[in-house]
Structures are given as C-alpha cells and as structure tokens.
C-alpha cells in the first residue's frame, strides 16, 4: 500500500467535466433524429425492393386486357400468330413458346457440358498461374454486350453456317465424338474383358477394341456424311441462336459451378485421394455429387440468361413464328418471346391499348413468371446446398459458416448477370 502512497503524488488526471447524460429534450431530439434517419434509409431501401413489385404490377395491368378480351385458350394452344391482321387478328403464341424453349434447350446443351468441364478444370486441374489467365476470359465473355453477340451471329456466323454449314457440322462431329468414342471403347473393352482369365485377357481386349473401333468409325462416317450433305437454307436459325446463346450463358455456368466445386472443400478431395482414387474418379464420384446443387443453380441461372436474352435471338434466330418441321429441326428459323416483343412492339400502336399492344405484355408476363420461378428455384437450391454443407461441417464453427455464405453471395451476384 505504501507503493501507492508514493505514486499518488504524480497523479494529475485532467477531468473533462460536462455531464454524461443528456437533458430530456436533447435525448428526445437525439432519438427523433436517429429514427428519422433510419426511416429515410428504410424508405429508400424499400423503394429499391418496391421496384420489382411495380414491375409485376405494371406488366400484369397491361396484360390483363388481353386475357380479358381474348381468353387464355388461343394464346397458349394455337400456333397462328397474326396480330397485325386488322380484320381477324390471331394471337396463338404456342410456336413462340416452342421457339423459346428450343433455343434455350439448345443453349443449355452447348453450355452445360462445356461450362461444367471448364469449371472442373478451373477448380481441380489448372495450376493457379494458369487460372489467373483463364478467369479474365470468362469475365470478358460475360462483359460483352448481347447486341455484339447478336451482330456476330448475324454478320459472321450466319453466312458461315449458310455457306459451309454441312461441312462444319461434320467436322464438329468428328472433333466431338471421335475422342469420346475412343475413350468409351477403351473403357468398354477393359470392363468386358476384366473377368477373363489372365491368359486370354490381352488378346480378347485387343479384339474387342478393334471391333468397336471399326463400328465407331463406320457410325461416325455415316453420320458425318449425312451432316455434310445437309444444305442450310438460312444461316439465321435455331442452331445459330442456340450456339451463340450457349456461349453467352457459359460464363454464368462456369463461375457458379466453379464456386460450388471449390466450396466442396479440400478435406473431401483429400479423403478421396487417400483411398487411392484418381483425380477423375474423385471429381466424378465425390466432388461433382457434393457440388451438384451448386451446379444445378448454375444451370438454372444459365437457363434464365438464355430465356431472357433479347438481341441475340432477335438477330440470329430467323424470327419465323412456326414450329419447325420436324419438331427437332434446329436448322429452321424460329421465333422467341423476347424477339416477338421487340419486333411487334415497333408495329403496335404504343398508347392506344389495342390487343396487339396488350398481347406483348401478356408475353412479358410469361417471361416474368418464368424468371421469377427460376429465381426462386435457384435460391432454394443454393439454400439447400448451404444447409447440406453446414450439416457436413457441423454448425457453429465460424469458418465453416462463412464459406457457404460467401458462396451464396457469389451466386446471388450471378443472378444479376
């Protein structure tokens, strides 16, 4: 205690003085100001959110007169689209829905295998230094405006398809199916002869391989010959639109899938490698299943991008409101909902509120509903992933919780395009 006695001499605290409590009026004012500030912020924040409700309201408002006057049946079941026929307009949008579906399916067929393979490569194969170079490619693909893709489709790609379409298709067949067939042959031969006794195994395998190779070559040859003979009468068709839309959807799919694959974590991979699995086996049997919901979300977002895209389909799809003959004929021109809105709105008298005007809002409403549902679906899928991942990791750990959250935010960012 004496120690304190000694030091007490140098104590010289400067007291600030002044009361720590506010008077009643100052206190009220402080609360009022805080509340007001908060309310203003809330108002602005909610008006950002209100915007989407406004969009729904105004699209529905202008769509209702159409359904009121024309009912639902013709719109959804007929393929006769002649809205500008003054005497007897026809509003059968089935072919247009079909066209949208067709190019979307085409785009997904192009983008999903390519995108997921690229994502796997980015997350599991490429070294960091190469990845740094590939990522900007994805970003640039995502940044290029859709009208530029459309221009490319119309001015560069369509003439190419029209002039050299058949040959291009047959070359593509060889490039695509050749390696795949080779791989399949190897696996089939190995599996089918695996049970044989040691002595017969190698000759048997060689025999099977030769047989299969011959069969595959013959098949490919026929296929490519058939394709090469195809004459494409117009370069602007469903195939063109599908390929370009696929390339456009690629960045979304690559980025979201890659995030999902990365989020699967190192422990999972190491566990699999420790059991002696190869990289391909690890990827196929462990990582992709673990990331499947994320990849699902990626596909949904890719679909959304393809359905909602306007300029590319307007410029590349040929704009013929018809169901192709036969139904799977990707070489015939089709018409999509977005393209219809653009090209028919120009003709419709924008303010008089004719059926021609309202039918386009009906179509926009369909688009809106589809994108809303897809959005909900992707959110649901992502939420399930998060739940799954945190269940695997055990809840509570700060790190375990933060990773899926970051992943979810990234996914959310991709919804925006």
């Amino acid at each position: 205690m004496t120690a304190f006695g000694q030091t007490s001499g140098k104590i010289s605290i400067r007291r600030q003085g002044g009361s720590l409590v506010l008077g009643q009026r100052a206190d009220r004012l402080r609360h009022a100001v805080a509340l007001l500030g908060r309310l203003i912020l809330l108002a602005i924040a909610s008006s950002s959110a209100l915007a989407v409700l406004f969009i729904f309201y105004f699209i529905i408002r202008d769509a209702i007169p159409f359904f009121h006057d024309n009912g639902l049946r013709e719109f959804f079941t007929s393929t006769h689209w002649y809205p500008s026929n003054a005497a007897a307009p026809e509003f059968g949008a089935l072919a247009i829905f079909y066209g949208t579906g067709m190019v979307t399916v085409g785009a997904i067929v192009v983008a999903v295998p390519l995108g997921v393979a690229a994502a796997v490569c980015l997350s599991d194969v490429l070294p960091f230094s190469v990845r740094q170079w590939v990522k900007p490619t994805v970003e640039i693909l995502a940044a290029i405006p859709s009208v530029v893709y459309g221009f490319f489709a119309l001015v560069v790609f369509a003439p190419l398809l029209q002039d050299k379409g058949g040959q291009a298709l047959s070359v593509a067949t060889w490039l695509l199916f050749g390696p795949l067939a080779a791989l399949a042959i190897l696996v089939v031969a190995d599996v089918s002869c695996g049970r044989l006794r040691e002595r017969f195994r190698n000759p048997a395998r060689a025999a099977v391989m030769i047989l299969l190779t011959l069969a595959a070559l013959a098949g490919l040859w026929k296929l490519s010959a058939a394709l090469a003979a195809i004459h494409i009468s117009s370069g602007t068709n469903a195939l063109n639109a599908s390929i370009i839309l696929g390339v456009m959807a690629l960045p979304t799919i690559v980025s979201v899938s890659e995030d999902a694959l990365t989020a699967a974590g190192r422990e999972l991979r190491e566990g699999s490698y420790a059991l002696g699995a190869t990289r391909a086996e690890t990827i196929l049997s462990v990582i992709i299943p673990a990331a499947s919901s994320g990849i699902m979300a990626a596909v949904i977002l890719g679909i959304m991008r393809a359905i909602g895209e306007t300029m590319v389909v307007l410029m590349a799809s040929g704009n013929a409101a018809q169901i192709p003959q036969p139904w799977y004929n990707f070489l015939s021109p089709v018409r999509t909902m977005t393209a219809t809105i653009v090209s028919d709105m120009g003709e419709a008298d924008q303010t008089t509120g004719s059926s021609r005007y309202h039918v386009l809002f009906a179509m926009a409403l369909c688009l809106l509903v589809v994108s809303f549902l897809a959005n909900l679906a992707s959110e649901w899928v992502v939420r399930r992933t998060v739940a799954k991942i945190s269940a695997v990791r055990g809840t509570g750990g700060g790190d375990a919780a933060s990773r899926p959250q970051g992943f979810m935010r990234r996914v959310w960012s991709w919804i925006g395009g």
């Binding site: 950002s48 959110a49 105004f58 699209i59 202008d62 980015l122 940044a143 909602g308």
Partner: protein, 447 residues
C-alpha cells in the same frame, strides 16, 4: 478396372477439361477477332479522293490548296469516263436498236459508275449524298468497280434447285459499242481515278452520320450511350449504395429484411426486355416523365436494371470493411452516421466503385431496355438540356438497326463494325478499369 485404364480415363478427363477451356477461349477469340480486325477499318482505312472531298465540303477539313490541285488532276483522269458515258447515252437516244438492248440497263450502270468516281460537277443524279460523291473508301471502291466491270448472268438452276449465277466481264456485253473502252479504262486506272491514301479518321467517333450512315461517323450514338450510362448511374448509385448501407448497417435478420432481399434478387433476374416494357408502361405512359421516348426515361429504366448489381457490389464492399475500423471510430466518440461517412464508406469506396464501373459497362451495352424508352435510329446528337424530352441514338440500338434494318446493310459494314468496336472497347475498358481497381484495393488492404 485395370489401373492402366483408370489412368487413361483420368488423363482423358483432364483432357476434356482443358479442351473445354480451350474451346471457351477460342470462342472469345473468334468473337473478338473479326470485330477488332474490321472495326479498326472504320478509323484507319484507305480513303479515296472522294473521302477527302467530302470531308472538305462537309466538315471543312483538309488542306484546300492540295485538294484543289487534286481535284484538277482527278478531273483530267475522270473526264474520259464521263465522255464515254455521255457519248453512249447520246447514241442510245438516237438508236432504237441500241436502246432496246441497253435502255434498261444503262441508267443503272451510269449510276454505279457515278457512285464509284463521283458524278461530273453539277450532274448528280439525286440530292442524296451517295449520288453526289463517289466511293469514299478504297475497299468499297474495289467492290463497286468489280460490279461495274463484271456482270452476273443467270444460268438457270443448279442441281439443288438453286439459281446458278456466273460472273462475266461486262465489256463483253458492250462489245462493239462506244462504251466498251470504258470498262478497260476504269479497271486500268482505278487507282488514279480515286487516289487512295491511308487515312486516319478519329472523327468517326464524333461526326454526325450523313445520308443514312453512308458518310460521316457515329457521334450521336456515342453521345447517347454516354448520356444513358451516366443517367443510369446517377439514378442507381445513390439508391443502390443507400440500400446497401441500410442492409449492412441497420437491418437485422427479420422477415421484412429477407423479403427485401428476395425482392432485390428477383429484380436482378427480370429479363431486360421486361424492363423495357415496364419503362414504357410506367415511366412514359403512366407517370409521363417525358411525352414519349427520352434519354431520361431510358436512363431510369437502365438505372433500375443495374440497381441490383450496385446494391450487391456495395453490400459486399461494405461487409468487407473490417469491424475494427468501425470499433475504432466508435471508441473515439463518432456517432453511427459519422462512422459510416468518415470511415466505412471511404474504406468500401474502391469496392463500390468497382461495382459501379462494371454496372456502367452493363448499362452501356444493354439494348432491350432502351428500345421502347429512349432509342431512335436517326437524329442529331442530343444537347445536354434536351435529355429530359428528347430521344437519342445509342450505340447498342444503332448496331442492331444499321445491321438489320438498313437499306444497304452490306455497303456500310465498316460503320457497323466501327460501332461494334467502339462499344466493345468502351465496355472492355470499363471492365479493365474495374479489374485494375480491384487489384489496387487488394494491394492497399495488404499494406
């Protein structure tokens, strides 16, 4: 399975992955290569004497004296062509037989020749500028000359049932007439007739288009894109950033907040064409921000489109600000607002800016939302005080327009490519800025 097979499968899988990356990169190259290769042609090309004459007449550019002497030289070289044409025309009038053979074709031929080397003074075939000047670009001139010197002749149908066309020299058709020498002359003296020179034409970016984009540049479209982008940013940034601040600094985890978030993410998923229709139905037809299409209505629509992106980027940037900064500021006696304004926002600024710049790229490139709200295909540059009422050209819409709805799409390819290149460079430059900015933030945060 055999270990060897497993290894082969493993390698093949790697191969497939790398193939996918290669295909993706190739797609990018294939997309951008023609755009860069042809797009630069709008700015750097071999301009003919007609180009220089046009620039001098219309924009008062170039050295008068040089041009006058060049004009004189050209007159001498071109005179024989004009003379031959006049002579033949005269003969046509007097010779019914000749008239029966060439009466229909000759006026077209004459027009094509005039479009190649320009009409003789005072003899323009119409008031259209394309009839007052010859070919301004050497690449166009070569195509034009070819269509004069050669002619396509129908040869019935080919084996597929498509009409078969064969090219032949036009001179052969005019064999024995007084016009025959003209074709040889044009072919031989094409360079002297047009005097091509390498030309750098940066004013392509600011000049008004003339005569349906046959001449001039893309000034109004560039200007319109800038207006629309800035307008969208002006509207979306304050709203987006404030919303993000609310979400990060004030909002908890309640029902209402999750509803708010769902709304915002739904907004992000709305197709861009629906934004366009909404802009038309709401901004123009309901609240009448302008009597019809205007820069303002387009900017508001685009602003709404990029709002979710800005909210998200700002939110992420704000969340990335270390809690320690906030604690430090509060422990020094700063209030919540003061903390946000003096510490949190400045620290999040680079991240927010990155988001803003990326959104700018998006707004600049979007077409569908402005079709019904702002874009027109013709018109002069909009003056800053006209933005509230006047519609505008915009690069994105004009690319569509001049490459699909133009009367002569394949004669103005250079304009189309020039526009596309301008838009691509604009968007990529914005994205590059964003990338560099992001790199700087990372560096700064690490000390």
């Amino acid at each position: 399975m055999h270990l060897r097979t497993r290894k082969i499968i493993d390698r093949s899988a790697t191969g497939i992955g790398i193939l996918a990356i290669v295909v993706m990169t190739a797609a990018l190259v294939v997309l951008l290569a023609p755009i860069f290769a042809n797009g630069t042609g709008a700015f750097v090309f071999r301009g003919t004497a007609e180009f220089r004459k046009y620039q001098s007449d219309r924009f008062d550019r170039g050295d008068r004296e040089v041009l006058t002497t060049e004009k004189e030289t050209l007159r001498q070289v071109r005179q024989p062509v004009y003379d031959l044409l006049h002579k033949f025309e005269h003969q046509l009038k007097n010779d019914d037989d000749l008239d029966a053979r060439f009466g229909a074709e000759f006026p077209k031929l004459k027009r094509e020749v005039y479009r190649l080397i320009g009409p003789p003074p005072g003899e323009a075939l119409s008031r259209l500028e394309r009839d007052e000047y010859g070919a301004t670009r050497w690449d166009r001139a070569l195509v034009q000359a070819d269509s004069i010197v050669h002619v396509q002749e129908d040869r019935g149908l080919d084996s597929h049932g498509f009409s078969l066309k064969v090219e032949g020299p036009r001179a052969a058709r005019y064999k024995g007439t007084s016009l025959e020498p003209m074709f040889g002359y044009v072919e031989m003296h094409l360079a002297e007739l047009l005097r091509p020179q390498w030309t750098f034409y940066p004013q392509f970016l600011i000049d008004n288009p003339q005569d349906a984009n046959f001449f001039g540049g893309i000034g109004p479209a560039v200007l319109g894109t800038i207006y629309l982008t800035l307008g969208a940013i002006l509207f979306a940034v304050p709203m987006g950033v404030i919303t993000a601040i609310y979400l990060v600094e004030y909002a908890g985890q309640g029902r209402f907040i999750s509803l708010l978030r769902t709304c915002i993410s739904t907004l992000a998923g709305v197709p861009s064409i629906v934004f366009g229709l909404f802009g038309l139905a709401f901004f123009i037809n309901t609240i009448h921000v302008s009597p019809s299409k205007s820069v303002l209505a387009g900017s508001l629509t685009l602003g709404l489109l990029i709002l979710p992106t800005i909210i998200r980027a700002s939110e992420e940037a704000l969340r990335a600000v270390p809690l320690a900064y906030k604690e430090a500021a509060l422990s020094l006696g700063a209030g919540q607002w003061r903390t946000i304004l003096t510490v949190i926002l400045p620290a999040a600024l680079p991240g927010i800016l990155t988001g803003i710049i990326i959104s700018m790229g998006r707004a600049a490139g979007e077409t569908a939302p402005i079709i019904f709200t702002a874009a027109v295909s013709v018109g002069l540059g909009v003056k800053p005080w006209e933005v509230f009422t006047s519609p505008t050209q915009a690069l994105s819409w004009n690319i569509y327009n001049v490459s699909t709805e133009h009367e002569a799409v394949d004669q103005i390819r250079h304009v189309q490519y020039g526009m596309v290149l301008t838009l691509v460079v604009l968007v990529l430059a914005l994205n590059l800025t964003a990338v560099l900015l992001r790199a700087r933030i990372t560096r700064r945060l690490s000390g």
